[in-house]
C-alpha cells in the first residue's frame, strides 16, 4: 500500500483515482472544484482542501490536469507540489503536456529533491474507469518501478519510453499526430471519391475492410460518413492544442513534419469556420469546403 495523492478530478482523473482506491491504496484527492471529490470521498478517499494538504507525507502524487499552465502552476506555486511533497517523492504527470513544460517540471522537482515521471495515457474516460488505459512511462527506472503498481491499476499496459520524462511525451504526441494525419488523409480521400459520385460508405468499406481495419479509421471514418460531428469525443480545439505541442516538440528537436503542418492548418481552418467545438472528424468537412463541396 502506498500513500498517494491524486490531483485533477476531471472525467479522466475521477476514473483513474477510483482505480487506485479500489487497489487498496491510501488516497488523498484534490481538485480546485471541491465537489469533484465528493464521490471519491464517499468511497473512502480523504478530500484535501489544498494542494499542500494533499501532498503532505505522500509517497506519490498523480496529476491529471488539462494543460501545461495548469500542471506548472500546481507544481511551482507557493504551497504547490515542489514545496509540499517530501523529498524522494515521485510526481507522476499523466496529462498530455509539451516537452518544454515537462523539462521545466523535471528541473523544478529535481531541485526540490523529488522525481518526475511522465506517464501520459491513451484512451477515453470509459477506459480510465475500467483500468484499461494504455500508459506510456518516461522517467528514471527506479522511480518508474516504484510507481508501476499504480500504473498497473490504471492501465492494461505500460509502454516504457525511456529514462527521460520527455521521451514518454514524444510518444504520446507522435501517436496523436498519427491520428490527426489519418483523419486529414481520410478527409482528402472522401472528398476525392465524392466528386466522382461515389457514396462515402463505399469508400469507408474499402478502407476499413482492407488496409485500415483499425479503431482510428473505423471510428473517425464512420463519423465522417455520417457527418455526425456534434458529439465531440475530442473537439477541434483540443486537437489544436495538442497539434501546437507536437509542432513545438518537433521544433525543439529539429524535425520537419510536413504532414503534421497540414493537419495543424486544417485544424485552424476548422476553428475559423466555427467548428472549434465539433469533433475532430469535422476535418473532413473542412477539406470538403476546400474542394468546393460544402
Amino acid at each position: 500500500m502506498m500513500k498517494v495523492a491524486f490531483i485533477g478530478l476531471g472525467r479522466m482523473g475521477r476514473g483513474m483515482a477510483h482505480r487506485l482506491l479500489g487497489g487498496g491504496h491510501d488516497l488523498v484527492v484534490y481538485d480546485v472544484f471541491r465537489a469533484a471529490g465528493d464521490e471519491l470521498g464517499k468511497a473512502g478517499a480523504r478530500v484535501a482542501d489544498t494542494v499542500a494538504d494533499a501532498c503532505a507525507d505522500r509517497d506519490v502524487v498523480v496529476t491529471m490536469l488539462v494543460e501545461d499552465a495548469a500542471v506548472l502552476d500546481v507544481a511551482m506555486r507557493d504551497g504547490g507540489l515542489c514545496a509540499s511533497l517530501p523529498k524522494g517523492a515521485v510526481h507522476v504527470a499523466m496529462g498530455t503536456y509539451g516537452v518544454a513544460a515537462i523539462r521545466a517540471l523535471g528541473a523544478a522537482h529535481a531541485e526540490a529533491g523529488q522525481v518526475l515521471v511522465a506517464a501520459p495515457v491513451l484512451g477515453r474516460p470509459d477506459l480510465a474507469a475500467s483500468g484499461q488505459l494504455g500508459i506510456v512511462s518516461g522517467g528514471p527506472s527506479d522511480a518508474v518501478t516504484r510507481v508501476q503498481p499504480l500504473l498497473d491499476l490504471m492501465g492494461r499496459k505500460t509502454f516504457h519510453a525511456g529514462v527521460l520524462p520527455e521521451s514518454a511525451t514524444a510518444i504520446k504526441l507522435a501517436n496523436n499526430m498519427v491520428l490527426g494525419c489519418a483523419m486529414v488523409a481520410m478527409g482528402e480521400g472522401f472528398s476525392l471519391i465524392r466528386k466522382y459520385g461515389v457514396e462515402s460508405q463505399t469508400f469507408y468499406e474499402v478502407m476499413t475492410e482492407g488496409l485500415f481495419s483499425s479503431v482510428a479509421y473505423k471510428g473517425y471514418g464512420k463519423t465522417m460518413v455520417d457527418q455526425s460531428y456534434d458529439n465531440a469525443g475530442s473537439p477541434i480545439t483540443v486537437g489544436l492544442k495538442d497539434a501546437n505541442l507536437i509542432a513545438a516538440a518537433a521544433d525543439l528537436a529539429r524535425v520537419p513534419m510536413p504532414m503534421h503542418n497540414i493537419y495543424k492548418d486544417r485544424l485552424l481552418g476548422a476553428v475559423a469556420h466555427g467548428d472549434g467545438d465539433r469533433d475532430q472528424a469535422v476535418l473532413a468537412r473542412e477539406q470538403a469546403r476546400a474542394a468546393g463541396l460544402e
Binding site: 499526430m177 486529414v184 482528402e188 479503431v215
Partner: protein, 293 residues
C-alpha cells in the same frame, strides 16, 4: 463464359489461372510472347493478336501496366475497340488514370460497346488465390455479365458509381490514404527517435492501439527494421500511384495537400537513390530530412 484475357504480368497470371481453374473458356494474349506458356499448359488457348483474343468472347479483360499500354491495347489500331464483338464487355482491371478511363469509355461508347473499369486491391498472392477486392463501375447490365468472372478472381466486389472512372477514384484514394499513412509514420518515428525512444516501443503503441491495421503493422515494421531492400511495392510505383491520385483530384478540383507532401517525399527518396526500394523507405527519407539518417 468465353473470356479473353490480355496482359499476363504477375497479377494477370494469377487472375487468368483462377478463371481457368473455375471452368471458364479462356483465351489469352500477351504482347511479349512466352508469358502465355504457363496458362497454356493449364489449358488456356493462346491468341496471336488482340483481334484473336476478342473473337467470339463474352468478356475481354485487360490487365496492363499503365495508361500507354491501355491506350495501345484498347483504342490503338488493332485494339479491343476494333474487335470487341456485339454484346461483349471490355473490363479494364489495371490501375489507370481517371483521364485515361474517361477517354477509353468515350471511345467505346462511340462504337456502342460496354466498358467496365474494375481495378483491384491486393498483391499477386491475393490474385493467385482469388482473394482480391474488386472495385467495379460501368453500365449495370455490363456489370452483371462480369459477375461470374469477378466471383472467382476476388473475395469481394464493390460497386463504385455509374461512371467507370468512379471505380478508379476509389482505388486511387485507397492507395493515397496508404501513402499518407506511410509518410505520417515516417514523421512520427523521426520525432520519437530524436527524443531517444526505441522505434519498436512507438510501433507497439500504435499497432496495439488505434492503428491495429495491416497498413501500420506491415509498413511500420519495415521502418522499425529499416528493411527496405525487398520491395513489395517500390518507391517509383508509389510515386506513379500518388501522381495518378493527384491528377484525378485535379480533374475534379480537389486539393490534396497531404498527397502533395507524399509526392515530394517520394521524389526526394528517388533523388537519394531509393527508387527501387520498398516505399516504406520514406522512413529513411524523413530521417534524412531531419538529419538522422
Amino acid at each position: 463464359m468465353k473470356i479473353g484475357f490480355i496482359g499476363l504480368g504477375r497479377m494477370g497470371q494469377g487472375m487468368g489461372a483462377r478463371l481457368l481453374a473455375s471452368g471458364h473458356d479462356l483465351l489469352v494474349y500477351n504482347r511479349t510472347a512466352g508469358k502465355t506458356a504457363e496458362l497454356e499448359k493449364a489449358g488456356a488457348k493462346v491468341a496471336s493478336s488482340i483481334a484473336g483474343a476478342c473473337k467470339d468472347r463474352d468478356l475481354v479483360i485487360t490487365m496492363v501496366a499503365d495508361d500507354n499500354a491501355l491506350y495501345e491495347v484498347a483504342v490503338g489500331p488493332g485494339g479491343v475497340r476494333q474487335y470487341l464483338e456485339k454484346g461483349a464487355v471490355h473490363v479494364s482491371m489495371g490501375t489507370h488514370s481517371a483521364g485515361a478511363i474517361q477517354s477509353v469509355t468515350a471511345a467505346h461508347v462511340e462504337k456502342g460497346h460496354a466498358f467496365v473499369a474494375a481495378p483491384v486491391l491486393g498483391r499477386p498472392d491475393a490474385a493467385a488465390s482469388g482473394q482480391l477486392v474488386i472495385v467495379a463501375a460501368g453500365p449495370a447490365d455490363a456489370l452483371k455479365k462480369c459477375e461470374p468472372a469477378f466471383a472467382v478472381m476476388g473475395r469481394k466486389t464493390l460497386e463504385a458509381a455509374s461512371t467507370p472512372e468512379s471505380a478508379i477514384a476509389i482505388k486511387l484514394a485507397n492507395n493515397f490514404v496508404l501513402g499518407c499513412a506511410i509518410e505520417t509514420m515516417a514523421e512520427a518515428f523521426s520525432l520519437v527517435r530524436k527524443y531517444g525512444v526505441d522505434p519498436q516501443v512507438f510501433y507497439e503503441v500504435m499497432t496495439e492501439g488505434l492503428f491495429a491495421a495491416p497498413a501500420y503493422k506491415v509498413y511500420g515494421k519495415l521502418m522499425v527494421d529499416a528493411s527496405y531492400d525487398k520491395p513489395g511495392f517500390t518507391t517509383k510505383l508509389g510515386l506513379k500511384d500518388i501522381k495518378l491520385a493527384l491528377a484525378a483530384a485535379e480533374l475534379v478540383q480537389v486539393p490534396l495537400p497531404s498527397g502533395s507532401v507524399v509526392r515530394d517525399r517520394l521524389i526526394g527518396a528517388i533523388a537519394h537513390g531509393d527508387g527501387d526500394k520498398d516505399w516504406a523507405v520514406l522512413g529513411k527519407e524523413q530521417g534524412r530530412a531531419c538529419g538522422l539518417d
